[in-house]
Point group: D2
Chain length 226, copies 4
Amino acid sequence: MTRLEHKKILITQSDDYMGPAIADLFHAEAARVTARPGLVPFGPDFPNYVEDLQDFDVVIANLAHDPCNGPIETLADDHWKKLFDTMVHPLMALVRHFAPRMADQGHGKIIAITSAAPLKGLPGSAAYCAARGAQNAFIKAVGLEFAAKNVQINAIAQNYVSNPVYYPDELVQSERFQKHLARNVPVRRVARPEEQAEFALFLASDNSDFFVGQIFPFSGGWAINA
Amino acid sequence: MTRLEHKKILITQSDDYMGPAIADLFHAEAARVTARPGLVPFGPDFPNYVEDLQDFDVVIANLAHDPCNGPIETLADDHWKKLFDTMVHPLMALVRHFAPRMADQGHGKIIAITSAAPLKGLPGSAAYCAARGAQNAFIKAVGLEFAAKNVQINAIAQNYVSNPVYYPDELVQSERFQKHLARNVPVRRVARPEEQAEFALFLASDNSDFFVGQIFPFSGGWAINA
Amino acid sequence: MTRLEHKKILITQSDDYMGPAIADLFHAEAARVTARPGLVPFGPDFPNYVEDLQDFDVVIANLAHDPCNGPIETLADDHWKKLFDTMVHPLMALVRHFAPRMADQGHGKIIAITSAAPLKGLPGSAAYCAARGAQNAFIKAVGLEFAAKNVQINAIAQNYVSNPVYYPDELVQSERFQKHLARNVPVRRVARPEEQAEFALFLASDNSDFFVGQIFPFSGGWAINA
Amino acid sequence: MTRLEHKKILITQSDDYMGPAIADLFHAEAARVTARPGLVPFGPDFPNYVEDLQDFDVVIANLAHDPCNGPIETLADDHWKKLFDTMVHPLMALVRHFAPRMADQGHGKIIAITSAAPLKGLPGSAAYCAARGAQNAFIKAVGLEFAAKNVQINAIAQNYVSNPVYYPDELVQSERFQKHLARNVPVRRVARPEEQAEFALFLASDNSDFFVGQIFPFSGGWAINA
């Protein structure tokens, strides 16, 4: 039997970050995937975004933006706000919209694809850490809030996973990056996107019902505390 | 000898949260305190805010807002954004402004007064957890970023400390709250504001130079992991 | 296809704790399970214990003992030592024996079944917290030590999972315990042993290669930080 | 006024690790220090150890042993056990003896000097991580157990602090170690023992009553999560 048969699953920003890998695997496992490309809006545009969306068994809150790296003194207000506008505020809107509907239907799962950066603290990426840290803290709180309603909300806090936004092949294959890996990442490689998708699949399946509000580091041993 | 003699110290939003208690103790210890009441602005108004401010040895980034508690489905966009506008974005602006100046002068400390709520995950306070979680993650990253420049940036992640914003006396003395304390807070009491100020003083003193990027839970045993 | 086909898997103390549930599921998934009942010895008896054991793809280091609960002033030296003798020292011996063999054969996984108690700190169970905390800290360190050798060592730090040692059915069904659950465990139930076994299966499978040195809380939201 | 006037303070293994630095500072601050050199015994010898000791306001549980570093496959059973015999079991005995007496007298503090190694996971130091991890987990649990009795039990989980056991001057001054520092420790230096003693003094003072069961990383930004 396929592992996600009949499950209705929404993947946001499906053309970016972990969207393509998760969509591929979930399709292969017979999920009924709604892959919605593009940024998730916040504010008055959000109702339009969800208007023609049905209810789902699982929502993959996949939200990503260029990390705007650099020393904090060079950070522009606009870049800082953009990280919150694309990753943090829409995550709240998605959970506020879907979690109560899942509670009403008696079950559901939301899996946020976030980052391990805030678990460790990454100099030169303070803006990104702040935004991803807001996501992780939010997921922890709403995960507990919906725990008793058979809705499981968790996050995959990843780093060093091959994906077009943060780790394109060109970067990964460079000699400099390989040295960086050898020094910083205990497993000494980046994850294939399919490996991440397999963990997302585990969390999307009925086998993960005892996990709530949890932030799972997925980083080859780089960050192991959540 | 007094413990903060000659130290130039800025306290933001000095009329709220831990501002009054910290200002009182720091004055008594002979610090040269600049207590600046009111919200710290973000964006085009920030330069005005700091325009007549000199350089400081220590900045107490004391930022607070009503936590906008309630089930996530009742949370208004405006309330959510307000938490970020008052607590998260101004913290970035303060650090971006002061930390490089402290690096230039060869020393300095920034102490953010944040919350333990995101460490634990507080159902019904997801917005507050998200905003305070953003602060904690930001402090961790910039704390590491400035570590080698003799600038120490840390946070006091508190809860159950007597203060006019979150724990006014009336609330604390109610029978219901006392029961809540007995059940949830290992030390079974709220901290006096002076106790918190003493820890802030320790972090503001020269004795804390080996701490950087750290989020100190201060919550009577309620949250003990950071 | 079955999910563990051909995998040679050792389960220690297989008659206790999570041994039976994991053995059942792994058998059903076509693993070649060696279920070894009884305590794992330490010291001069350990070589006998492993003498007739082959090499394995996966070792489930399932070690359990009565938690010796009670106020610390009533704790007997013998009980304290017994927890270390049955759970901590044998875990080291198992890892010291099998991990280098796994490194030699080019792959392998060790999954320790530990506890979430030390993540949270459990008054009245300080001895148990100490012993399980030693296990978790050990797994974190050896997990990093073997990370680059394609050997993945992780722990499931569980609580509130139905099992004969800590949560027998009789206890779980009592009114008093149900009230305790409602107050302390966000999902308000204990996990079925099969749920735990499914997570152990995920970690035993080839899909978990990017996780090393990680302590996974598995406790229905009771402890969510590791 | 001196900061520890009239306080009766026991320092164990006072000739090693942080004992000398803490004793010096505490003496200077007018504490009535009982500095007891040598290993703390466990088992039948423990009653002799404490027999002529009075009650104390503060106990500094300073326990150290050579870390027995090396790959796990080379670790001898004896070395492994020695770490537990000298650091873990005596810590339990000290807390079991003193904490209830402190509860009876209505106040008291125990400060364990442990290590940050288990917070991070240190390959090549798995035995040391296990033993120090047991200590940290134990302190967390008994810290919560005595929280309501006005007895505060906490740990300083340090690394990279100058001391004769782990960081003798010769090692610290070597070129190799200085390179290691630059790469691994955000503040790029080891702490002077007096800096650590100042934090121990803060925890020993009446100003720290709101901290219980807490494991304070003290490592120049090397480990910042507890």
